[in-house]
Every structure is written in C-alpha cells, then in structure tokens.
C-alpha cells in the first residue's frame, strides 16, 4: 500500500500530536515555606520530631513516622554531590547548553537530597562526594521558585567521605 501523491513533498509519514496541560499548582503550607525561603536566598527544611531527620523540601510530614513536621530548620548553603548525570542529549525546550551536569545535592544538615545543576566545572570532573555551594540570582531577582538558585559550584573543600553520604544515593 502506498500513499500516492502528486505533491512534491512526498507522502505524509508523521503527524505532530502536541499535548498541553494548563493547571494551577498549590504547593501547600510546607512547600510554600520552602519556596518563601528561596525568596530570601536560603534553604528551609523541616525536622521530624520522632526520627530527627531533616527534609528539604519538606512535604509537611515525615514519610517514615507519619507525623507532621513542625520544626523549621535553615540549612547550609553548601552540600555534597551524592550522584549525578552528565546530559549530552539535546531535547526540545532545553534551556541550558549541553553538556551539563544534573546532580543530587545533599545539603549539610539535611537528610534528603534534591536535584541541582552543577556549573563552573568541566563535565568530566564532576564526581560523587564533590563539595558544592549554591549560587543565587541577584537579590532583586529572588523569587519563591527554585529558579532563584542559579546552580551549584565547587566550594573548594576536599571531597566528602563516602561514608557521610552513602545512605543518600
């Protein structure tokens, strides 16, 4: 079976089927607090009153103990790369020049890592245990958004001992 056509473009072989979704996102009390912290240029987490773990960003409850987390904790601006991915593949909507490094960063004092961009370091030199610090947008551009954190960069400290982050991979 052939798609006979006189059209110089030849047969149609693919169909664009974009899909879009518009929605209102309400982060809730705990994540709003985290986002308000970002607006002030700091990382805010919450500590569980039972196990003592500090979650950032906090969802408002401890997933282990099932209790509300009510104690706010301001975390360090520095952390440790626990694991990472070097992105070499271009994709639609990409806003960062490849190659770039997406890493899980465990902030000092936190018991939960979150994803951040690593820059000011060749992609070939990123490694587990790398010590990094957050670089923020200028103060007048701070917003309740993770976009307030431009990226993380090496902070010059020696690599962290594997034992200190092996639970967070």
């Amino acid at each position: 079976m052939t798609a006979a056509t006189a059209d110089e473009r030849g047969p149609v072989t693919t169909l664009a089927t974009p899909i879009a979704l518009d929605f209102d996102f309400t982060p809730g009390v705990a994540q709003s607090r985290f986002l308000r912290g970002l607006e002030q240029g700091k990382f805010m987490g919450q500590r569980c009153s039972v196990c003592g773990k500090v979650y950032v960003p906090s969802r408002g409850t401890c997933p282990t103990d099932g209790v509300p987390t009510t104690e706010d904790v301001e975390l360090s601006n520095s952390g440790t790369v626990t694991t990472f991915c070097v992105v070499n593949v271009p994709f639609a909507g990409q806003s960062i020049e490849i190659p770039y490094i997406a890493a899980q960063v465990l902030l000092d004092g936190a018991n939960l890592s979150f994803m951040g961009l690593i820059q000011e370091l060749p992609a070939t030199e990123v490694r587990m245990g790398l010590r990094v610090e957050a670089v923020w947008v200028p103060e007048d551009e701070l917003a309740p958004s993770l976009a307030s954190v431009r990226y993380f960069r090496p902070n010059g400290e020696p690599d962290a001992d594997y034992e200190t982050y092996k639970e967070y991979l």
Partner: protein, 152 residues
Amino acid sequence: MADSEVLHAAHHIEYPYSRSLGPVLSAFMTGLRDGRLLGVTASGGRIVCPPSEYDPDTGDDVGELVEVGPGGVVESWAWVSTPLRKHPLDRPFAWALIRLDGADTALLHAVDAGSPGAVATGDRVVPRFRPAGERVGSLADIEAFVPEGGAV
C-alpha cells in the same frame, strides 16, 4: 504561617509528540493534504473511514484504499455551545459522526452549522477544506464540515 501565605502559581506543560503513521494512515493523511478522503476495504467489502490499520472484525490486513465522500450523512451529533481553546472552531459548532458517501463507518469531525437548529441526524454535509497551501496532512486540513448547499 497563615493560609494567605500559601502560594499558588499557574503552570503550563507541553510535550511536542509526533507519531509515525504507518502505511494506512500515511495514505489517509496524504489524501487529506491532497484534498481527498480515503477509506480502506475490509472484510465483506466494507469500506472503513477513517481507515483502520487492521480489519476491525477479523484483525487481518486491510485491502485497497478507495476514495470516499467528499459528502456524507450526519449519523449523530452533539452541540458545543462554548468551544474550548483546542477545538477546531472558535464559535459554537457540532461534533458529528459523519458517514461519508461510499463508506460504511463514520468519521468524527466538526460541523459548522451556525446553530443547533441547523443540524440534524440524516443531514447531508460536505467538507470545507483549508486552502491547498495550508494543508499539512492532518484531519485539521478539513476546517469543518458544512451543511450541503447551506449558507454557512
């Protein structure tokens, strides 16, 4: 923290999917770009339009492509009084199942009838194709169907 301090924000996500059509739907979409409507021959000589890639009754390969329409008959319809952003028309219209002349199955498309009183089951409709230069090989190459001989 007071409830009034809880944040909310408008989000928009979009994925630029494209799908490979395969031989049957490739022919159907190419036909639309050329301003023609095609069906396929299935078991018992039934003509299926929009064409399916397999016989809907037996699962066998389908047969030859045949031209159908362009006119057809409204089998059923529903009036859309408030079109949404992604609907094919920005004014009220009918979604209709349209059995094209020569076909044994119905195609879903918009009928630009003007008002719900101007569309009825059994009505004859014809496609209003976009200009040839604007057609890309999509069901949207037909802007809408309109009542045959109608003024819309």
